[in-house]
């Protein structure tokens, strides 16, 4: 609910900012040092895609509009799949997705689409066991077995092993999953597939998968609602929903063997430990590093490398540049982690290569 209020506030701010008079010369990005040209004309940019980074993107849009009232950005959080479909069809200027595009999806695009990692989020395992007062810990194998239906009760020895002092009741575990296709499910099942070859073979990873058992709830808010109201339930949700609803989150044992809580620092640690390849997308789940939270993921913006409209393309490139620099400071308050510096330098190189025809969009031509 709180996220909704924030979104509404951001929306109102955007609207209020729209009404304000236009300063003579709007400055583009701040410290980022955008090399791009300044424009007086009004540009409107449309984007669509992932719901998961929506609170952050809508904050970016409202803040950016304060600095650049001549750039009007509209982002519709219609879901990653919709974002991919719309950017391929060319009905929006930028897309956004949690899971990187698959090979056959990229092939459908008329020209090269770039993934720009824009923020980092985590999927947390929330639970409701009234008897347990401390924080529960789980080994990744135990998590897989709970979702595969092999561990059925809360007092199973495999759960007890990592929680020797917790009062675990002899109650059946009620498993909840996201029933609507979502990046959250994709990140979570990608992690389970990495942990368990059996999960990978029988269920696999994706935005919608055929879970072996459990109840399906609609949206993060639906899973949050079920975990909150039903005792002995376990469910996976985005971190923001768990922290705003004060649901306890499981500490998961990472690849280095440490139990880690899903803090923004642990998310950054996961991103820092994974080498970013040149195509700028990579899975962060089950990352190395002592402090890394294992169910972490980038969320991406999708841009055409060769923009059809040079004016719109330049405005978009400057906005994305701003988001990746100045915009990152809004991350933590909204439960996201900022992009690590060494990844940022790679993204900068990619953004500087954006062009329209043979004209570079950010080179200050």
């Amino acid at each position: 609910m709180f996220v909704r209020v924030k979104m509404l506030a951001a929306l109102l701010l955007t609207l209020a900012a729209c009404k304000g008079s236009r300063p003579a010369d709007a400055t583009a990005a701040g410290d980022g040092g955008t090399p791009g040209p300044k424009k007086d004309e009004t540009v409107s940019l449309n984007g669509a895609g992932a719901t998961f980074p929506y609170p952050l993107y809508s904050k970016w849009i409202s803040e950016y509009n304060k600095l650049n009232p001549n750039v009007k950005i509209n982002y519709q959080s219609i879901g990653s799949g919709g974002g991919i479909r719309q950017i391929i069809a060319g009905t929006v200027d930028f897309g956004a997705t949690d899971a990187p595009m698959k090979g056959d999806e990229s092939k459908q695009a008329p020209s090269k689409l770039l993934h720009i990692p824009a923020t980092i989020g985590a999927v947390v395992i929330a639970y409701n066991v009234p008897e347990v007062t401390g924080t529960l810990r789980l080994a990744p194998e135990a998590l897989v077995e709970i979702y595969a239906g092999k561990i059925r009760n809360w007092n199973d020895p495999k759960i007890k092993a990592d929680n020797p002092n917790a009062k675990l009741p002899a109650k059946e575990i009620s498993v909840v999953y996201r029933t609507d296709g979502s990046g959250t499910t994709s990140v979570f099942t990608d992690y389970l597939s990495k942990i368990s070859p059996e999960w990978r073979a029988k269920v696999g990873a994706g935005k919608s998968v055929d879970f072996p058992l459990g109840l399906g709830a609609k949206g993060n808010e639906g899973v949050t609602g079920q975990v909150k109201t039903s005792p002995y339930t376990i469910g996976y949700i985005e971190r923001a929903y768990a922290s705003q609803n004060k649901l306890p989150m499981i500490e998961i044992r990472n690849k280095a063997g440490k139990f880690v809580a899903p803090s923004t620092e642990a998310m950054s640690a996961a991103a820092a430990s994974v080498e970013m390849p040149d195509e700028l997308f990579v899975s962060l789940s089950n990352a190395d590093g002592d402090a890394a939270y294992p169910i972490t993921s980038y969320s991406y913006l999708l841009l055409y490398e060769n923009a059809k409209d040079p004016v719109k393309g330049a405005a978009l490139a400057r906005y994305v540049w701003w988001g990746l620099h100045d915009g990152q400071k809004f991350s933590k308050a909204l439960d996201y982690a900022p992009i690590p510096d060494k990844v940022l330098s790679k993204v900068e190189a990619q953004l500087k290569a954006l062009r329209s025809g043979d004209k570079k969009l950010l080179s200050g031509s």
């Binding site: 799949g81 698959k102 059946e172 029933t179 998968v209 109840l215 399906g216 609609k218 639906g222």
Partner: protein, 313 residues
């Protein structure tokens, strides 16, 4: 017929006739266009899976294998369950409001019942998550399981979320539709029949049973069908409580899934042509099921309307 254009010029009538005909054609055209668009959209899936789409219970987007049987079952089961709850209540409300209630009570109670129809379905859904499902889990399902657990309908784990919760939510949502239409149907029965029955010494119950209900029968069936139509198409509220599992189970406690729900849940994030095509085919099936049920309903109304009208005491 005397005002037909050309013989007796009446522009107003001419324009009116043409305009209404155009609107009527538009509705038929839109229906046809929808059917064509859905068949085209789902062609890939129809070609790939054929009949197995209708009888397979596997819905696995990761492996691109799709079967819609659990959704068909869930849609029909939840809607019929809703009718089982809603029809007796709605008829009771309608009979009370049209025959028995004192005049000063009719308007406010009728208004309140119809107000139920104005509540947005997402509000019903939230109520379902936070009130109905916990209540079912804590109080209702354990008792049903204890007393009626020998029946397959009341076995299995009790989550609160499931077919039973879905049926109850739908029942509440369709009660105003059925009861307000039924009330109008009962009101349309001429008062002379009631007065006649009462004058012959019938009790109010006997008057309703003998004089009013037989005449209203086909209208009441029609009201029920309207409610069923709403239940079949309802998406948001039922998605929030039915548990959304593509499985077929006899138990009312078990989670289930409806055709409208799976489209709403998965369409926004679906990528891949076969996946989208299969979702479109689920939409086509929902369309077909709705049309078939409406045909059955028409036949039923027609059949009931031709039954002999006599009532016995």
């Amino acid at each position: 017929m005397l005002t037909r254009f050309g013989r007796e010029v009446n522009w107003g009538d001419f324009v009116f006739r043409r305009a209404t005909a155009l609107v009527a054609t538009f509705v038929i055209g839109a229906l046809g266009a929808m059917a064509v668009a859905m068949v085209m959209g789902s062609w890939e899936s129809i070609a790939k899976f054929g009949c197995s789409f209708l009888i397979s219970s596997v819905w696995d987007p990761v492996r691109d294998i799709y079967g819609a049987l659990p959704f068909i079952y869930g849609t029909l089961a939840s809607s019929l369950l809703a009718l089982a709850f809603a029809v007796p209540v709605s008829l009771g409300v309608a009979i009370f409001l049209s025959e028995l209630a004192p005049a000063w009570l009719r308007a406010p109670v009728g208004f309140l019942v119809e107000l139920l129809a104005a509540v947005p379905s997402v509000v019903y859904g939230l109520w379902g998550i936070f009130v109905l499902a916990p209540w079912l889990r804590e109080s209702v399902e354990p008792r049903l399981g204890r007393w009626l657990g020998f029946l397959p309908f009341f076995q299995g784990p009790q989550h609160g979320f499931g077919l039973l919760a879905g049926g109850i939510i739908l029942a509440i949502m369709i009660t105003p539709t059925i009861s307000s239409v039924s009330r109008e149907v009962l009101r349309a029965v001429p008062s002379a029949l009631r007065e006649g029955a009462l004058g012959l010494g019938a009790t109010p119950w006997e008057a309703v049973r003998v004089a009013v209900l037989p005449l209203a029968r086909s209208g009441l069936v029609g009201a029920t069908i309207l409610g069923l139509g709403r239940a079949l198409g309802e998406t948001m509220a039922i998605t929030m409580v039915i548990g959304n599992r593509a499985e077929i189970s006899a138990s009312l406690f078990a989670p289930s899934y409806t055709m409208a729900s799976v489209i709403a849940n998965e369409f926004t994030e679906a990528t891949g042509r076969l996946y989208l095509s299969s979702l479109a085919e689920v939409g086509l099936l929902l369309f077909v099921v709705t049309v078939l049920l409406n045909i059955v309903a028409r036949l039923l109304v027609w059949r009931v309307g031709r039954l002999p009208l006599e009532g016995r005491l």
